[in-house]
Symmetry: C2
Amino acid sequence: MRSITANYRTMNTMKKYFNYWFYVILAAMAAILFSPGQADAQDHRMIRLAKITVDPAQLEQYNAALKEQMTTAVKVEPGVLTYYAVADKANPAHITILEIYADTAAYKAHILTPHFKKYKATVQNMVKSLELVDVNLIGAAKKPDM
Amino acid sequence: MRSITANYRTMNTMKKYFNYWFYVILAAMAAILFSPGQADAQDHRMIRLAKITVDPAQLEQYNAALKEQMTTAVKVEPGVLTYYAVADKANPAHITILEIYADTAAYKAHILTPHFKKYKATVQNMVKSLELVDVNLIGAAKKPDM
C-alpha cells in the first residue's frame, strides 16, 4: 500500500507541475503572438524609396513643398516615422526619398491627410516622373543623436 | 570752450562705443566663421546613395557582412553617422544604402579601417555591380525615437 500511495503522490505532484508549466508556456506564447513589441512593430513597417524627377525650373518650389509635407506628416501623424530626401549632386532635379511608415494602414491614412493632398496638388505640374519602390530593411545603424 | 569740451567728450564716448562694438562684431564674426555648430556641421556632411547588385546565391552572406560593417563603423568611428540599407521587395538582390558621414575626411578615414577592409574583402565576389551617387540633403524628418 505504501508504494501505491507514494506513486499516487508523485503523479499528483507531476500533474500539478504539468498544469503550472502548461499555463506558463501558454502565457509566454500569447505574449509573443499578441505583443506590440519592437521586433513585431518593425516587421510590419512599410518602407519605400520614391524616385522623383522634377522640372529643374521649379526645383526650389518643389523642395519647399516637399519639406513642408515631410515635416507636417512626421509632426502630426503617429504612423509617419521617418523621411530622408536627397538630391543627386550631379543632377539636383533627380530626387530620392526614403520613407518609413509604421505599417500600410499608416500609409493609407497618410495619403488622405490635408497636408499630403496639398503637397500633391502643389507639385502636380512640377514632377516629371515618379517611381515608387517598396523595399525591406536589411539594417540601419546610426549615432544616438541622429 | 564749453562746447569744444562737450564735443571732445562726445567724440571720446563715441570712440569708446566704436571700439566696444568693433570688438563685439569681430568676435561674433569669428564665432560664426570658426564654430563647429549644427548648421555648419550639416553643411559639410557627406551623404551618398550606394546602389548595389548582389549575386542572389550569396545574398544572405552579403547582408550579414553589410550589417556587421555598418554596426561596427557607427559604433567605433565618430564620423560615421547613419546607415540605412534596404532591398527592393521585388528583387532583394538590388540593394540601396543611404550613408551619412560627418565630412569627407571622416569618409576617407572610414575606408581605411580594418572593419571596412574586411567587408570589402568578404563581399568582393558577391557584388555584381556598384554605383555610388553623391547627394545633398533636401531635408529629413523623423520621430524623436527613430
